[in-house]
Amino acid sequence: MHFIWEGLQQAVHMILHDNGELRHILWVTLHVGVVATVVAAVVGIPLGLLFGLGSFRGRRIGVALLNAGLGLPPVVVGLIVALLLFRGAPLGGLEWIYTVEGMILAQAILALPLVAAFTATAVGAVAPALLDQARALGASRRQVYGLALREARVGVLGALIAAFGSAVSEVGAVVLVGGNIHGQTQTLASAVLTEVAAGEYGTAIAIGIILLGLIVVCGGMLTAIQQHGTGDDEGAPWFRWRAS
């Protein structure tokens, strides 16, 4: 308990007397988390819609693969991404090894099955009678998918919350791809690792508390949007679906 109290005090001190170092780590963490979640959403939500609502050969295998992807080991993903990004490797030309972009790629790969699998489950649970009625009234496939997504928005936002949480707190892939370079690719999670390795447990706890605070604040904001959309009203104004 002493360590935690000391860490809490140190966390407050770091926040109040930050010389820019903490701000940079925080920025890298948020940058990686937000962009990786957006990339995973842009790719994963359409994939989830396709696997949740489509009827085509191989759909079940696809869903099984997405579900298996929920258990992807971050260290293995990080290793493969790093090997692909090394100079001379297939993606070496991107020059993303030991960069924030490389970390975003690794985190997006880890978050993608999470977003896609949860979206597929959420839209698959939308009442088939509603979707059939939409088709019977001339709705296009795009409109039916839009309707399903809007109806399943609570589940889909849940997937995004989980994806963001994973992207900001994951450490294995981030260290392997980003190199945990102080002042460049260090995130809050990888900074905890560095401090622990250096025996600075107080600082590690302080950074851990800041990371937890970040997750609580961002997760809380997403949850507020999610819960706002659970009623039978038009939903949150920034999440309103306009049929065209």
Binding site: A127, A129, L130, D132, Q133, A134, R135, A136, L137, G138, A139, S140, Q143, L147, R150, E151, G231, D232, D233, E234, G235, A243, S244
Partner: protein, 319 residues
Amino acid sequence: MSAPARPPAGAVAPAPALAVRGLTVRRGRLEVLRGIDLELRRGEVTVLLGPNGAGKSTLFGAVMGSIEPAGGRIEVEGRVAAAAQNAAFARRGVRANVELALAWWGVPRSERPRRAAAALAELGVGGLAERPARVLSGGEARRVHLARVLAVRPDVLLLDEPFAGLDPTARADVLYDLAAVLRDEDRATCVVVHDRAEAWALADRVLVLLAGRIAASGPPAEVLERPPSPAVARFLGFSGEIAIGDEVLMLRPGQVRLDPGGDLGGEVARKIPVEDGVRLELAVAGGRVFAVAPSPGPAVGERVALRAEGGIRFPRAAP
């Protein structure tokens, strides 16, 4: 909406809005629909009657394109909309749900509020426009469901059991309100119902679908009062049958009266209390008939005299 304009005598009938020719649908080796010929004309309400499993929903599915036929042709002049049995709504208000349907149909955004309001008012639910759709009662939900499909103004409208799941009072209310707004000279309408009374209230023409075939087709008075075959008669409530020579006399319970001066004799085989008295199953020479009598009615095993009023006769060999 206005009453349909009837063509003058001798005029050539306009092309049907929907024509189904020789439609066959298979599920595996089973033929669910066999050689269905059907025409729906604008301004006409066709009621489709049939027992569960007769193929009514399959017929609608084939017309909507969600079920692939094994044979035959479906020709549509215009667009088809259908209202499914279950009134499922998006998590929105009533008005928003109707406007959403109009959006799916392709109605310009500027027209949607006016058309949604008009359709809701027509079905008597204009006052519920801002209420969340998922808190509606069964009858309200059914009215909003119907308003939604009427609002899109299709050329062909298919309604699959629009009164399913409603209590008798709500059922009657929705039936009479729907009957008042359903007929439209620009629209051909087909409604699946289970009940003869509903068919009487709605139909210009009645079709009876039995075991995947159209077993009867014609005006309500013709089909419901003079069914063309014993199988159709049985389905339409002619449950009593008496063999008389080479013929079978088929009777509805309302056509059999207990009458001390009656020319038929029978014995009460079963007695079941019903709303209007007791329903009697009576064994008579050559068959069995049903009658409704005031309570308490004769005891089981008691012999009674009967009079048959009306009924319909078929040759005994008829299917």
